[in-house]
Assembly symmetry: D2
Homo-oligomer: 283 residues x 4
Amino acid sequence: KNRGRLLVSCPDQPGIVSAISRFLFSHNANIIESSQYSTNPEEGTFFIRIEFECPGLKEKAKEMEKQFAEIAENFSMEWKFTHVYNIKKAAIFVSKELHCLLELLWEWQSGDLMADIALVVSNHENAREVVEGLNIPFFYVPANKEIRQQAETEQLKLLKEYEIDFVVLARYMQILTPNFIKENPNKIINIHHSFLPAFVGARPYERAFDRGVKLIGATSHYVTNDLDEGPIIEQDISRVGHHDNVDSLKKIGRRIERSVLARAVKWHIEDRIIIHQNKTIVF
Amino acid sequence: KNRGRLLVSCPDQPGIVSAISRFLFSHNANIIESSQYSTNPEEGTFFIRIEFECPGLKEKAKEMEKQFAEIAENFSMEWKFTHVYNIKKAAIFVSKELHCLLELLWEWQSGDLMADIALVVSNHENAREVVEGLNIPFFYVPANKEIRQQAETEQLKLLKEYEIDFVVLARYMQILTPNFIKENPNKIINIHHSFLPAFVGARPYERAFDRGVKLIGATSHYVTNDLDEGPIIEQDISRVGHHDNVDSLKKIGRRIERSVLARAVKWHIEDRIIIHQNKTIVF
Amino acid sequence: KNRGRLLVSCPDQPGIVSAISRFLFSHNANIIESSQYSTNPEEGTFFIRIEFECPGLKEKAKEMEKQFAEIAENFSMEWKFTHVYNIKKAAIFVSKELHCLLELLWEWQSGDLMADIALVVSNHENAREVVEGLNIPFFYVPANKEIRQQAETEQLKLLKEYEIDFVVLARYMQILTPNFIKENPNKIINIHHSFLPAFVGARPYERAFDRGVKLIGATSHYVTNDLDEGPIIEQDISRVGHHDNVDSLKKIGRRIERSVLARAVKWHIEDRIIIHQNKTIVF
Amino acid sequence: KNRGRLLVSCPDQPGIVSAISRFLFSHNANIIESSQYSTNPEEGTFFIRIEFECPGLKEKAKEMEKQFAEIAENFSMEWKFTHVYNIKKAAIFVSKELHCLLELLWEWQSGDLMADIALVVSNHENAREVVEGLNIPFFYVPANKEIRQQAETEQLKLLKEYEIDFVVLARYMQILTPNFIKENPNKIINIHHSFLPAFVGARPYERAFDRGVKLIGATSHYVTNDLDEGPIIEQDISRVGHHDNVDSLKKIGRRIERSVLARAVKWHIEDRIIIHQNKTIVF
């Protein structure tokens, strides 16, 4: 397949689109879809995502990247070329509640999630049967506060061994250490079971019930060292009422969590997300 | 009109509905709509709202209330009869931003808000022209931190003089004192421009922008002494994106504020809301 | 379990609630949740759904029904007692696309669907593995225009043999004959992949694409002899845009179909639906 | 103000973005926002909307257009330059129901609708007071089936006299003749009170009630000769239930109509809409 993507962010100035598109044209690339956004026409930041078809992309990718580096330098760009034939490798971390994992596996089975689910890691055995039934390697790595260091060492080894591109925390209820996060910058996607910044931290459904909210939600975000404070990728909500108790909030919430996480993972896979100052641009 | 409403809450036990409905039947009242809810079948709290038609209601209302008091005592009920012919009198408090006021006036003009908007109070003159143009009394009462006491004295006098049943804070940007709130328990409806409990307090749109949320919202709630912590009546949200700046968040938000507040006020007027332990049951 | 439900519809008149609640009270039943609605206070139709706890319900159910029959006759009621301990038996019919079936199985596995999925019937073999993996009987019954009669004979035999209470058409792409429908009145729930009455009939996503709609939807309804014209139980939509092609509409639509059908089936199981003049009251 | 917009559609081929952006760069234009979409990388149609800042745009606009015409010819483009300082002139047509008109006037007053509402035309007198109160010319033009020709002659004269750029049918309940539509191609925006293609034609709320739908909606579209069949710009829905009668559907619907039409008009004003084969691309 000859489909590629280019993501660029840089200080805004005239001539950026012109330079990029001339470059692509000179390589016979046809732009399929492009989205651009500037925070501010004066002294703002410029962002673009371009998806293109380019005959013989695989062969000339290296050379193109080398040439583009020059343009990039002129405009002080941060940039990334990706090639659709390089399927991204994902690791999914999960605890006891499996609904988010199951949603991802389902999307993956039906061909809607174009990633390679390379392995599933859990601190419980609940998911083993379904995961191994799909011929995906499953690793039981015990984890809790006391043995966090040791668990992460093992997990990081697995990520390296399987050449993982990104990690999905599909209701993985353990906190990750700064070291683990530093090793995987902007590569860990979490689902939090509230519409952040409401109900940061533990037991959000219980707290939503106590507060008597009329909406509950879920938020998918990249993981940073500040708990539940990383760049938000996607959020959604559902309406609830006085007749709902904590259990029914959880049931309703599971449905939101599943779809919010699935969308966030899909956008990440399709290179639709640029992170900028703890926010996301989603093209 | 012979339409009445009965709201009851009491400790749950068998026989409550039977006693209430027998009572209504004995007065030839026909139940039009009833909604019931119990927090828990065992030792929970029972809530019911009944709307009924009763020939000659106006004449026998007093007698009915007297008779019902006995039943109420047996079941330790908190209860309230209301009669639809007694239109509730509302005072609307507003500052500079008029969109919520205009929405309520509009609904009122088109007959969708069955209340008597008896007066509008503001610490600015912006609303005078439109309010007086509709032959509604407008009172300019200067208000700020320094003269809060004095302002509230004047406001309370107005509420008394106009026999106000409830107050709507339609983006009234002043904080009320505990005394003012105590004088109007469960009678002050506020609109807060965020999906609470996110962004309690000032400048919620600015903070929503800084956090990079993908949804913004509004919340209507009864006012208590804890800022933005009163019982939530209604909430709603709209989707936003990276291209939105603070100004466009405010524009989008205004639309949500308008409709959330209008719904909350309508439910209050129709006696659909029971407050229980800092939450609302909305029938 | 001592939980029961009573559904009643009858011509409206004063005294109905009183009579019903007195009856329940006389059997020591405690009303947990009740919802009532009248189409019109004058000469309208009255509907009520009551959920109650009644000590020793199982033993005295027969006697209660017998006694209630007298009240019912006085008010010309259509009525139904159900007992929560009698789990309803469901048959799911499916063709090649499995997403709706999988959703129901999932909800069932996680305890959110309180029915007994007694068998799955399909005119394809695709679903066999997953269904039998859950120890649910799977029957392959070939079906198409030519052999409709023969297929339905076999299907009806299965419904009888397994004592099925209701049938879910979870994207079963065959048309049922009037005979089959007559044998199962108000007992067949279908999911149609459009927001009816838009796009009745075949290929709704293709036609939605051609029309350039900005919303697509799904509708769950009871099956009658008029194709896609039966009483609507639930509908929902999702926003789409110019960048969506038929394939992406189908993907987005699958998510709506799954949740709309799951809600409809859940309400049916919980006896929340009363059918009246080709519409549903959903309590 | 030096803000301009360029809209282009043409057969897709490599080099289009490059040619356009080089052209803009050569005029020192800085691209603020650009959105691009192709129906199909092979033999599809290419669409782009670019918003740019260009010093001295007003002075050199003519020259730029002349130069761009050459590029446009090379790529067989349909194209349009617009200049934000040229505020578009709108005529609003209305009948008796004023909610959509009032919404537009409101947005206009609060600065959210960057158009010049040059006149309001109605076949009733209801709107005169509010319109003239805002110093907008109001014209009463009687219209019905019998005098359609004569009414349209007068209307077309007004559109010409006031140099109107587009017409908004804000619940104008008269049908327009093919001649009127031909004179204003892609310039007439209508609001239809259903989620099209459901309930094409008259009395959609009554028909929605009869069908027992659980959602009602509204659709804004460009007017063509096929009734309610023109390119859809925007749609939205609200949830309704068995307790809603035709009147409450209309009330709920008015809120949807107002916001759907307001969004559509705003997008039209901002040149965000390209019409292609009876569909809209909305950038």
